[in-house]
Symmetry: C2
DNA sequence: AGAATAGTGTCTTTGAGACAATATTTC
DNA sequence: GAAATATTGTCTCAAAGACACTATTCT
């Protein structure tokens, strides 16, 4: 049967139905995208012979409008009727960083009723990974200023409570965001409840010092995802320039994972993900290192 | 400084700003939740001595209204202004299956502009895993009927195209959904593009025979997530009854992964996730098996 | 006895952690 | 030569694939 001839209970065809459909009768939430834009940058060198330390950075903007006026928030904005979520995320990324050719991935959608005091807002968070070189940050529309913050992520407590067959797993994470002028601290509690056959994850902000909305929770979620994914995918290379040494790559893994790695094991692990070039670093104050590039033939699984 | 005294460029405090805020001036999309409700059920026994085969099932509803009238869709519905996304998902789950104490997880949010011919609709998909026993399915409001479909997921083609340093990874998946009365077939192409420093995943429906909206893409995404997560988490136990044999557990792994497993290796892998009881199956036509339950002390990582 | 599933033992391969050892450059 | 990083080698341990073997019940 021709689909166009199908009639519903009111006797309408699909075309007739769509012509008579009034979308305005339902109340609708606002939808925004919020961007977690990460990069890894070099800090100043301690000593001319040592390697420069790297650190994981996240871009935040200072709010110039209510609500949370003067606090720091993730860059983001409303999704318009004529763009997809991905397009809105790309637009926001471009607005804030002036780059658009980067790795981008949707993370999670935040839908609590009172997340935003203005009105009902549902926010879809995206993570972008940017090569630290050649970054030019400009402030967006409704932001006084955009700044990179060093990210420190520390698990303060992990606790499991058993009640018969039910159990609750709680993890308390402290996130410290800092740069030359500001230090923001957030403590987020992640609660996984298994009660009977029900399972649910909840997040709770214990402290959100200077961080707007529920953005501290989004940051906690994003860092966790980044840490998980760097272990089994190639996303780390999106934080790297075209050519890099294995020590630089290791440093990027170390700052995102927040722990030191043994170089022998690290080199074995990433051996298939890189191709060597015949170029070397020079003037380093010590033995030069071979430069590598990403091996596009690598694939996980 | 007291936050309440902060004034914006118009000289308003936060309270004054919120009182004057008019949310209606921006056009807003509709937001829905779509539920991927999976279960594993026994099929009829071939032979009285053999074990009953299990199969992975997904719940679909036949649409009784336009658009896609008469086609099969994921259960779902609009998110109201007074409920969170999780609450809306839980409400839809309860409406369709009459259960609510189950595992539930947000998957992905689908935001293409023309996903729905009625109006701009953004859909947040959730996965729920239900123990097959004690399921009572009832139809929802705008659905003629709800039915369980067997899920078959088959990768037809995997292809990588290299163009210098850029490359495209394409995967073509065929999903067949079937029960006694209907067989639906979908072919979804997943495209991962790495062009320059840009990375993006796209999905494309090649065939979506009898499946409404972009729900075939959602199903492809969900099965992939389920398959990944069953390998390194305990979610499989949400598909099991309280007591089960290791063979039954293995069957659940096999039908969700779509491949056979070696029982020696399987038993080693899940050894720490289960606790034995002193009960056994009986009247099975062969050697009885010890019954196990989930070990709540197990934790991954 | 035969059918069918339940459950164990062991050999091999693979990958990661630990740590020692060697190599190369600049100052 | 000293400082500093680069790079390789090897021992050990843990997990998973492969496959053979033993055990138990019902008809």
């Amino acid at each position: 049967m021709d689909i166009e001839q199908l009639r519903d209970k009111q006797g309408l065809t699909e075309t007739e139905f769509l012509e008579s459909y009034d979308a305005s009768i339902y109340e609708r939430p606002s939808v925004t995208v919020d961007m977690l834009i990460f990069t890894v940058m070099d800090e100043a060198k301690e000593n001319y012979r040592k390697l420069s330390e790297k650190s994981l950075k996240l871009l935040l903007v200072k709010r110039g409008v209510h609500p949370y006026l003067g606090q720091w928030a993730l860059p983001g904005g409303f999704v318009t009727q004529t763009e997809s979520l991905d397009e809105a995320a790309l637009r926001e990324l471009k607005t804030e960083t002036n780059v658009d050719e980067v790795y981008m991935e949707q993370l999670y959608t935040w839908g609590d009723v009172s997340r935003d005091p203005r009105t009902r807002v549902i926010s879809c968070s995206y993570m972008a990974l940017v090569d630290g070189s050649l970054l030019e940050v400009k402030a967006g529309d409704d932001a006084d200023e955009a700044r990179w913050f060093n990210v420190s992520y520390r698990v303060l407590e992990e606790k499991k409570t058993l009640l018969g067959k039910d159990f609750v797993f709680e993890k308390v994470v402290r996130i410290t965001l800092s740069n030359h002028t500001d230090t923001l601290e957030a403590v987020v509690k992640v609660i996984e409840k298994y009660v009977g056959k029900a399972f649910m994850v909840e997040r709770e902000m214990v402290v959100a010092n200077g961080i707007a909305f529920d953005h501290a929770e989004m940051i906690q979620y994003a860092v966790e995802r980044l840490r998980n994914k760097i272990e089994y995918t190639d996303i780390a290379f999106n934080l790297m320039p075209e050519l890099f040494t294995l020590s630089e790559l290791q440093q990027v893994y170390e700052v995102t994972l927040g722990k030191e790695l043994l170089s022998a094991a690290f080199r074995r692990k990433i051996a298939n993900m890189v191709t060597e070039t015949n170029q070397f670093t020079k003037d380093a104050g010590h033995r030069p290192a071979k430069l590598f590039r990403f091996n596009p033939n690598w694939r996980y699984m």
